[in-house]
């Protein structure tokens, strides 16, 4: 029995080493669950207690096979990860380490970006809060009436709470954006710290969610983690596919979407046009930052850019920190 317990704990530890958030509480749950079901249900006892998001299922399956390997896990699971990560036509398994590149400057820039403030528009929510005017707040009015002998002399009011809209950043990290992408990722990291619900994605030929990677406290660490996750860094560009995948992630509705890309697209312009139109309908506002716009003579002649532009609300450059600050005011 003790051996069995050791085996289960070793399995949980192996999962932790693979990055799953398996705390002691979960391990206890897992052992209790394993004891409550017959031995051939061990796979499910673990999956129900140690896994908490679909992306973790493939990792779980792999570790399970490696450590406990009793029964082959049941039918393979189609995972959301694959929806986010587009079926890319040409997968570039090229990741880049930024540890050695212009370290000081990047870190300095990251520190400056911390001061950046983005004024995202608000929307009314259904939650109500105390206000000076608005609808009657009966609960508080009644409470106050006790001070005046049951007569509601002092009345209280409440009004709809206002809340910042979600900001969704979509960063082009393909080859043509190489000069800008690292700084833009740092920009995303700084921006995301303002609100836990904001999201960031990178794309080249496929879309990758980097929100979690960017949560790292240290900018260098954040860059490294993002680079680890984005396998097509400095590859080709398929903006239409990326926008399409983004629209499927459920985070776009009612949000402010900021796309950072030079608009040089190898995909079909027709696809990009259709997907941008859809994005425009879903999102509250679509902002496009194109670093090429830095040049005063720039005109959006690239097919992709021309296709996307009619569905963009704000078109700006975002090639340096000053222009990013201007973006903050224009949202």
């Amino acid at each position: 029995m003790a051996d069995e317990l050791e085996r289960l704990v070793a399995f949980a530890r192996a999962l932790r080493n693979e990055g799953l958030p398996v705390g002691p509480g979960r391990v206890v749950d897992f052992c209790r669950a394993a004891a409550a079901v017959p031995a051939d249900h061990l796979y499910w006892a673990g999956r129900l207690t140690l896994v908490s998001r679909p992306e973790e299922i493939p990792v779980y399956d792999r570790v399970f096979r490696g450590v406990l390997e009793e029964e082959p896990p049941p039918a393979p699971v189609t995972v959301v990860e694959e929806e986010v990560a587009l079926a890319s036509r040409e997968e570039l398994l090229r990741t880049k380490s930024f540890a050695d590149l212009t370290r000081e400057e990047l870190v300095e820039l990251a520190a400056l970006m911390q001061r950046l403030r983005l004024n995202v528009p608000t929307r009314r929510t259904r939650r109500r809060e105390r206000a000076r005017r608005g609808d009657p707040d009966l609960r508080r009015t009644l409470r106050r009436s006790f001070r005046t002998g049951g007569e509601p002399v002092e009345r209280a009011w409440r009004a709809r709470h206002r809340r910042r809209r979600r900001l969704v950043l979509l960063l082009d990290v393909s080859g043509s954006m190489a000069d800008y992408s690292r700084a833009l990722v740092l920009f995303a990291r700084a921006a995301l710290q303002a609100d836990a619900r904001w999201e960031a994605f990178c794309f080249g030929t496929r879309l990758t969610r980097v929100t979690r990677a960017l949560a790292a406290a240290d900018p260098k660490e954040a860059l490294r983690r993002a680079a680890d996750e984005v396998v097509d860094w400095n590859g080709g560009t398929r903006i239409g596919d990326a926008v399409r995948a983004l629209a499927r992630t459920n985070v776009v509705r009612g949000s402010v979407v900021v796309i950072c890309s030079d608009g040089l697209d190898v995909g079909e312009p027709e696809l990009l046009r259709a997907e941008m139109a859809r994005l425009g309908r879903l999102a509250h506002r679509v902002v496009w930052l194109n670093p090429l716009k830095e040049d005063a003579a720039y005109e959006p002649l690239a097919r992709g850019m021309r296709a996307a532009l009619p569905h963009v609300d704000v078109f700006l450059s975002g090639h340096n920190l000053a222009s990013l600050e201007a973006v903050g005011a224009e949202l």
């Binding site: 749950d29 409550a36 999956r47 079926a87 109500r128 259709a274």
Partner: protein, 284 residues
């Protein structure tokens, strides 16, 4: 209220026209045995809500449903006082005397029970279904965590109300946002995937007995092909059932041909998706 084994859960759910896979049956078994909330995630239309409803029927328990939405707060989820009645009552008591009657004013007859409080009072006699928790804001999630942790709440005027034995809790999420780890840690987690082709045929036949076997097979096959396309909204099981019903009413034998094309709107509810599916499935 307890199941003897995972197989028993499987049999019981099947008996109520819900065909679970092994993982879901194990999840339900453990949730009831360990008295832990069961968090179900999966795409729309895979039958997450149905699990809670079916479970209530099997256990002979009262189904208490809390539909979450943006801005939901404790007044809608837990309890609220009936202010209008309180005011009238206070008036009836005449000014001046109210002070002695405050405790009467906050008596049980003025308390409006909302789903969470009702579930706590019902205890093990209830199945609490917290539906689409991802729609509520995260403050509400924190509040929910508190309730689900010790299954007790404190109403300042009445005192602490605790469940003698916690109810069975099923939480569903469509994953429009990531839930907090703290809440997930309280729960058993199960991702409900689309069923296999054979299983889907069984489900359609079970839910819509008027659909002939061949038609059910054809619908399941088409739906599987639609899911493989890159669509904005992949059709769920309920869409498959609706589509099969519609085709059966029209007397069609399968999804190919005109009847299939004309009823495709039962499976896909998005114009871009419809066009794409028309092009890829019905062009050849």
């Amino acid at each position: 209220m307890q199941f003897g084994s995972v197989e028993e859960v499987e049999r019981a759910l099947s008996g109520e026209s819900y065909l679970p896979d092994r993982g879901l049956a194990t999840a339900v078994y453990l949730a009831v045995a360990m008295r832990r909330p069961l968090l179900l995630e999966g795409e729309a239309g895979v039958g997450k809500t149905e699990v809670g409803k079916t479970l209530a029927r099997i256990l002979g328990a009262e189904l208490i449903r809390l539909q979450c939405y943006e801005g939901i707060d404790s007044a809608q989820a837990l309890y609220e006082w009936d202010y209008a009645r309180q005011l009238l009552y206070a008036r009836a008591l005449q000014a001046g005397e109210v002070r002695d009657h405050v405790s009467e004013l906050y008596g049980p007859e003025f308390l409006i029970e909302r789903p969470l409080l009702r579930a706590l009072r019902a205890g093990s006699g209830a199945v609490l279904l917290i539906d689409e928790v991802d729609r509520a804001d995260d403050e509400f999630e924190a509040f929910l965590l508190e309730v689900l942790s010790d299954f007790s709440v404190t109403v300042p005027e009445l005192g602490t109300i605790a469940a003698a034995e916690p109810p069975v809790v099923v939480v569903t999420s469509n994953r429009t946002r990531e839930l907090h780890d703290a809440l997930k840690r309280r729960c058993l987690y199960h991702w409900i995937d689309f069923p296999s082709l054979e299983r889907e045929v069984e489900i359609v036949r079970l839910r819509a007995p008027e659909v002939p076997e061949a038609l059910a097979g054809s619908v399941a096959e088409s739906v599987a092909r639609l899911r493989a396309l890159d669509l904005a909204k992949r059709p769920g099981i309920s869409e498959a059932i609706d589509w099969a019903r519609a085709l059966a009413l029209l007397g069609a034998n399968g999804t190919d041909g005109n009847a299939g094309r004309e009823t495709l709107g039962w499976a896909l509810k998005n114009r871009d998706d419809l066009e794409r599916a028309q092009a890829e499935l019905f062009s050849g």
